[in-house]
């Protein structure tokens, strides 16, 4: 969140040698700070118009009142109080929002752990075992295959595979491993996690791969020469150096899964609670302030998770 000048300096120290003295020595040239404003400008404007302003609206609307058919622009905490309804009264039982977030976090954690595991090894393979650049490119493109079809088609396609009379079940019944089709293969937490992992592993692979290819191969050779085992090299050399990629990938996956309602909805048979789904239900009922309040809560919780993660690794420093 610093100026781009700071980031530039950290990224390649010496690129802007002592900006203070530069300014004093050549007063007629554009100041470096002006240049960096210029560089950051276009992105900043896009960010402002399409992210920050809408976000401010969401926060404002979340404090409005509403009726069946319109927003009432008067201050009201109803969106929030309704959301946390029963959270104290029902103790020790969890209230709706508590249960919903517990489920969302649970799904989020499972998807994160699995995509991290798979993504790490795919990236490892691409970075260290595939020698040619062309093959590296080609194989990474293969990871995008899940995105070649639309969401709806992808969802419908799971039924013939995981359904009661699907390929997996009929295969298992035929081999005699089970007598009755497994019900939990589809419309369950299992199928939600499976579909999310299938989709989002790609977001783990790319940043981790990106970090790994930049690891100086001589470091690994040095570790090997110093007598480190493969495992020791992995834990002490590769993982620490791939950390920025891991954190960036994790941020991608966690933010997407926290807000997802389409995949969780369709794969969970619309019966699994998710933070995004609450917002969807509210919006569909035209209760925009309540939806906005839920969006603000979701944003705050996601932001909290990301802040904790960037505490573990200072991404700026590592880039």
């Amino acid at each position: 969140m610093d100026t781009s000048e700071d980031i530039l300096q950290q990224a390649s120290p010496g690129l802007i040698p002592g900006s203070g003295t530069a300014r004093a020595a050549k007063p007629t040239r554009l100041s470096p700070s002006f240049i960096s404003w210029l560089q950051a400008g276009p992105m900043m404007l896009v960010f402002l118009a399409f992210f920050l302003i809408p976000l401010v609206f969401v926060v404002i609307v979340s404090f409005w009142d509403y009726n069946e058919y319109q927003l009432l622009p008067a201050f009201s905490g109803r969106g929030y109080t309704d959301t946390f309804e029963g959270c104290i009264a029902q103790l020790p039982e969890l209230c709706t929002i508590g249960k919903t977030y517990l489920m969302t976090l649970k799904l989020c954690f499972m998807v994160w752990a699995i995509t991290l595991f798979i993504g790490f090894w795919v990236a490892y393979f691409l970075a260290f075992h595939v020698k040619s650049k062309t093959w590296q490119m080609g194989l990474s493109l293969l990871c995008t295959i899940p995105f070649w079809t639309s969401n709806v088609i992808r969802m419908i396609a799971w039924i013939p595979l995981l359904g009661r009379n699907g390929l997996v079940n009929s295969g298992l019944v035929k081999t005699g491993l089970i007598n009755h089709p497994l019900e939990w293969l589809l419309f369950s937490e299992f199928s939600v996690v499976l579909a999310l992992v299938h989709l989002f592993t790609f977001f783990m692979v790319v940043p981790i791969f990106n970090s790994m290819v930049r690891i100086d191969k001589s470091l690994i050779e040095a570790a090997y020469d110093a007598g480190a085992t493969g495992f020791q090299t992995l834990v002490n050399v590769v993982i620490p150096l791939a950390k920025p990629g891991i954190v960036i990938g994790s941020i991608f996956v966690i933010t997407i899964v926290m807000g997802d309602f389409i995949t969780i909805g369709v794969m969970g048979g619309q019966q699994i609670a998710a933070a995004g789904k609450i917002i969807e239900t509210r919006v569909n009922a035209l209760q925009f302030p309540a939806a906005a309040a839920n969006a603000v809560i979701l944003l705050a919780i996601t932001f909290l998770i990301i802040t904790m993660m960037s505490r573990i690794v200072d991404i700026k420093k590592e880039l």
Binding site: M1, D2, T3, D6, W37, A40, M44, F47, L48, L52, I53, L55, V56, F57, I60, E68, Y69, Q70, P73, D82, E85, T96, K99, T100, M103, V152, I156, I159, P160, G163, R164, N165, G166, E183, L186, F187, G269, Q270, Q271, I272, A273, K277, I278, T281, R282, V283, N284, A285, L286, Q287, S310
Partner: protein, 429 residues
């Protein structure tokens, strides 16, 4: 993260914050208004917002041929249609929507009632809408948002529904149907005759309902009444206690694993049924036909407690006036003149003006779809594909029997906000 910005006067971050709130204020105060749209001078074009039910390509082509009006479809789900009327009333001309959303649309002032005197066939519209009875005189159940309760407004710009007929019509009816449970007779292997079967543990993990809270809860209410647990004064307008009671029944069923999945989309419902994931679920008539045309047995099962019905109709956006309003009348009049009605009837829906639709259908088609008689010849869909072989009889029988058996109508409750909260609680349970 911000340790280096402390010494500078204005960091980009604070600037971003400042301008954002300024812009927010500007927009919030109404300084930024909608963009004007460019109107084409020569062609007669109407933007038609609605769900996919009425929006056939054949209908728009025929309309262009007959009237010279070009229809541009804007297709959305029921919820999104309502959302669009509320938030972007200038983005459409003609609206095709369900009667139950009128409770939200009319007070918003974003739609314009049509003048009954300008609708040629208005007096021929089926008494289902105007009197709440079938042409044969059978009284129709009026729980929920029954169309005749919200058909008329007190005045042109009134926001109050009139109790008796006026010339200001909220929605000119176009299409409606009586919905019930679809079942797979080959997998259930016994007769089904009551809504109570939806939550029968025998079908654990094989049942489904619609994922629209206001409609899903009515299906559940049909079950509650069928089991004799409780009798509602109005299933379409429950009290908080009634919502609690109904949701409790639903939650118990959900926890016991009764529901396989909730569906929202026509194709989802077809898929669930055709694949055998579900064997009993609330469904739409054409979806049942679609499953059957795949060669899979599926019945739109009439039940003794009756049908849950729905109806849609036309109105125009408040922004429509002048020649455009005339085209809108011309279009609505054309829609009721028979071609579109026959098209809808052939899909298993019902048209609002029966006489004109009948004139556009073959006698054997009319006999099968409307009179509940065995098909004399193969029954074909509007696109020519085979729906039923000769000899088949429509599930539920004739128009009189099906519409006469309606128990309640899709609705928005007064306690809608409470119900939505309870629905989220139900999903999280």
């Amino acid at each position: 993260m911000t340790e280096t910005t402390g010494t500078k006067g204005v960091s980009r971050r604070t600037l971003l914050k400042g301008t954002a709130s300024l812009a927010g204020l500007a927009a919030g105060s109404g300084a930024i208004t909608g963009f004007p749209y460019v109107k084409s001078a020569d062609a007669k074009v109407l933007r038609y917002l609605g769900t996919a039910v009425n929006e056939g390509d054949d209908i728009s082509k025929q309309c262009l041929k007959d009237t010279g009006i070009k229809i541009e479809y804007i297709t959305a789900t029921t919820d999104d249609v309502t959302k669009r009327v509320m938030t972007q009333p200038n983005s459409f001309d003609v609206l095709d929507t369900e009667y139950f959303s009128l409770k939200k649309l009319v007070p918003s002032g974003n739609i314009l009632a049509l003048d009954a005197k300008k609708i040629k066939e208005f007096d021929n519209i089926t008494p289902v809408f105007t009197k709440g009875e079938t042409p044969g005189g059978k009284k129709i159940g009026g729980q929920g948002t029954a169309p005749w309760k919200v058909l008329y407004l007190e005045g042109k710009d009134s926001k109050k529904f009139a109790t008796s007929a006026t010339e200001f019509v909220t929605l000119i009816p176009t299409v409606y149907n009586a919905d019930t449970l679809g079942i797979r007779p080959d997998l259930i292997k016994r007769p089904i005759s009551t809504w109570a079967e939806l939550l029968n543990p025998e079908f654990k993990g094989k049942a489904s309902i619609l994922n629209i809270p206001s409609i899903g809860i009515m299906d559940a209410a049909m079950v509650v009444e069928a089991t004799g647990k409780y009798k509602y004064a109005d299933k379409g307008n429950m009290t908080k206690e009634e919502i609690d009671l109904t949701m409790k029944v639903m939650t118990e069923a959900k926890k016991a694993g009764q529901f396989r999945a909730f569906w929202k989309d026509f194709n989802e419902s077809v898929n669930l049924m055709a694949s055998g994931e579900t064997v009993i679920q609330s469904m739409w008539s054409p979806a049942v036909t679609k499953v059957r045309s795949m060669g899979i047995p599926c019945t739109f099962q009439p039940l003794k407690e009756g049908y849950r019905s729905w109806a849609s109709g036309f109105c125009v956006s408040k922004g429509v006036s002048g020649p455009k309003l005339e085209w809108a009348y011309e279009f609505v009049n054309w829609f009721l003149s028979g071609y579109a009605g026959a098209y809808l009837n052939r899909q298993g829906y019902y048209s609002a003006v029966l006489s004109t639709a009948k004139a556009h259908m073959e006698p054997y088609e009319w006999a099968y779809w409307m009179e509940g008689k065995p098909a004399e010849k193969d029954i074909k869909a509007p696109d020519g594909s085979l729906l039923e072989k000769a000899g088949a009889v429509r599930d539920g029988g004739s128009y009189e029997d099906r519409m006469g058996g309606v128990a309640c109508w899709n609705a928005v409750m007064d306690e809608n906000d409470y119900m939505v909260r309870k629905w989220n609680e139900f999903i999280a349970a």
